[in-house]
């Protein structure tokens, strides 16, 4: 339901676009270099997002005003 796409997905889509442009090879050198630099940055940030991702799990219950209240979920039996 999120209006905008998640950051990772956007970065990946942009990266794919950049590689397509670079592979076409018809851009002036300065623009190619700019794109290459942007792509390298995106690669690094995507890699970082993956490296640093830590799963978050929360349990939701309905609060008194019906709005959700989060609590830790450790698992129960």
């Amino acid at each position: 339901m999120a209006a905008k796409k998640p950051e990772f997905e956007q970065s990946l889509a942009r990266l794919e676009e950049i590689v397509r442009h670079l592979e076409k090879g018809d851009l002036p050198l300065s623009e190619s270099l700019c794109l290459f630099e942007e792509g390298t940055g995106l690669l690094a940030s995507c890699g970082k997002m993956l490296d640093e991702a830590e799963q978050k799990v929360v349990k939701l219950r309905k609060g008194p005003d019906r709005a959700p209240i989060e609590s830790d979920f450790e698992g129960e039996e």
């Binding site: 990772f8 670079l22 993956l50 799963q55 349990k59 979920f73 698992g75």
Partner: protein, 404 residues
């Protein structure tokens, strides 16, 4: 019947009757009990049979798509309950039951209820492919609607975490069996939509008996899944259990673990994809640079750039050659002129009056210096100068004689 009425063709009449039957909502979902007879399976995969009781019979057809789902092997003589719709086969002008499911007599009430609900919801279009929503490629938040106890929830959380830890998992704890379960599951699906909690819902439970799974065959759950704006993955039991929820959901997983695999990408694969994008962009860049440097090298190979003075030196050499040529030509012209001069000088010398004088001739000239060429130009008493080879003499004209 009035005689002026236009007669119908047989096809028109049969199609008219077909239309009548198909508009009847009761005939659209029927459930009929009887004995199978004349059961035949055609090479096409369609099954043809007759249902009968002691007084009556009904022609039936079950198309291959439905027949492959049969969990038993029907045969003539068996008592069954058939589900389907009644319509007309215009070619034969015969009405028949288009059977979508068959159940042997003695199957439980639950099975019967399942087939009836399935028939009803299918008729309403709840299972239509066109209504199914695409799943997000990289869900940010997943609402897991299941029991907080048991293996299913732990399997899902573990696999979601291993594959794609960036996704936040929101557990909406519900009971998944018992009389309260359907309302809780349906309520949680609606709640997730109301607060836009997630971009994907997984609802399900581990395997069990048909009674254990029953909440996922409940009409309320089916309708909540259908109404959800958030895509829903159903994950009930183990293959080959199929629930109504599985039919309505946007995607069906065979187990809760499988649901987690369907829900998120595998970060290992994504890392590989990133790596390959990195390699491709490096290759593209290297290609670009080497193409440009080749062009540069080709230009740099030209002599104007490698040795810029060479051009000037060449011009200077040309200039020297021209200058030498010019000097030689000058000298040739001068020599020729000198020859001319010598020749003319000797001619001049030959014609010199002094040379004539030296042979004994003399030149007379008037007082004004002009040579006297004729005696007629003279007058007596006039003074003349006579030039000799070695001197001059001043004279006076005494007498003039003109030759006749």
């Amino acid at each position: 019947m009035s005689m002026d009425r236009q007669p119908l063709s047989v096809s028109e009449l049969n199609n008219h009757i077909k239309g009548l039957l198909e508009r009847d909502s009761r005939l659209a979902e029927v459930c009929v009990r009887g004995e199978l007879s004349n059961y035949k399976i055609y090479p096409s995969g369609h099954h043809y049979f007759t249902l009968k009781d002691s007084e009556s019979s009904l022609k039936c057809v079950m198309f291959k798509s439905s027949a492959v789902k049969l969990r038993f092997r029907p045969d003539s003589g068996m008592s069954v309950t058939a589900f389907g719709r009644v319509s007309v086969y215009p070619r034969d002008g015969a009405y028949q039951l288009y059977c979508s499911a068959l159940m042997p007599e003695g199957a439980g009430d639950l099975q019967l209820a399942f087939e009836q609900l399935k028939e009803k919801l299918a008729g309403e279009g709840l299972f239509d492919r066109s209504h199914k929503k695409p799943l997000p490629a990289f869900p940010e938040k997943i609402a897991v609607i299941t029991s907080p106890a048991g293996a299913a929830v732990h399997d899902m959380i573990r696999i979601l975490g291993r594959r794609w830890p960036m996704t936040r998992v929101l557990l909406l704890p519900v009971r998944v069996q018992g009389t309260e379960a359907p309302a809780e599951i349906a309520g949680a699906i609606r709640y997730a939509n109301e607060f836009e909690l997630a971009d994907l819902i997984i609802t399900g439970r581990g395997g069990g008996s048909i009674e254990d799974l029953w909440a996922f065959n409940d009409e309320r759950v089916a309708r909540a899944i259908y109404a959800s704006r958030i895509p829903v993955i159903s994950a009930v039991g183990h293959e080959p259990d199929v629930t109504i929820a599985d039919y309505v959901a946007d995607a069906r997983a065979s187990t809760p673990s499988n649901a987690a695999e369907i829900a998120v990408p595998d970060c290992g694969k994504i890392r590989e994809a990133l790596e390959s994008l990195g390699i491709r962009s490096c290759q593209a860049m290297t290609g670009k640079l080497s193409a440009l440097s080749d062009r540069l090298a080709a230009l740099a190979g030209k002599r104007v750039l490698t040795d810029p003075l060479a051009h000037i030196e060449n011009r200077r050499m040309e200039l020297d050659r021209v200058r030498d040529g010019l000097a030689a030509a000058g000298e040739r012209v001068l020599a020729a002129k000198k020859q001319d001069f010598i020749r003319l000088a000797s001619m001049l010398d030959a014609m010199s009056p002094l040379r004539v004088l030296s042979r004994g001739y003399a030149i007379a000239s008037a007082e004004n210096g002009k040579p006297v060429k004729s005696a007629k130009a003279l007058s007596e008493g006039e003074r003349l100068n006579i030039s000799f080879t070695d001197g001059r003499a001043g004279c006076r004209v005494e007498k003039i004689e003109i030759n006749s």
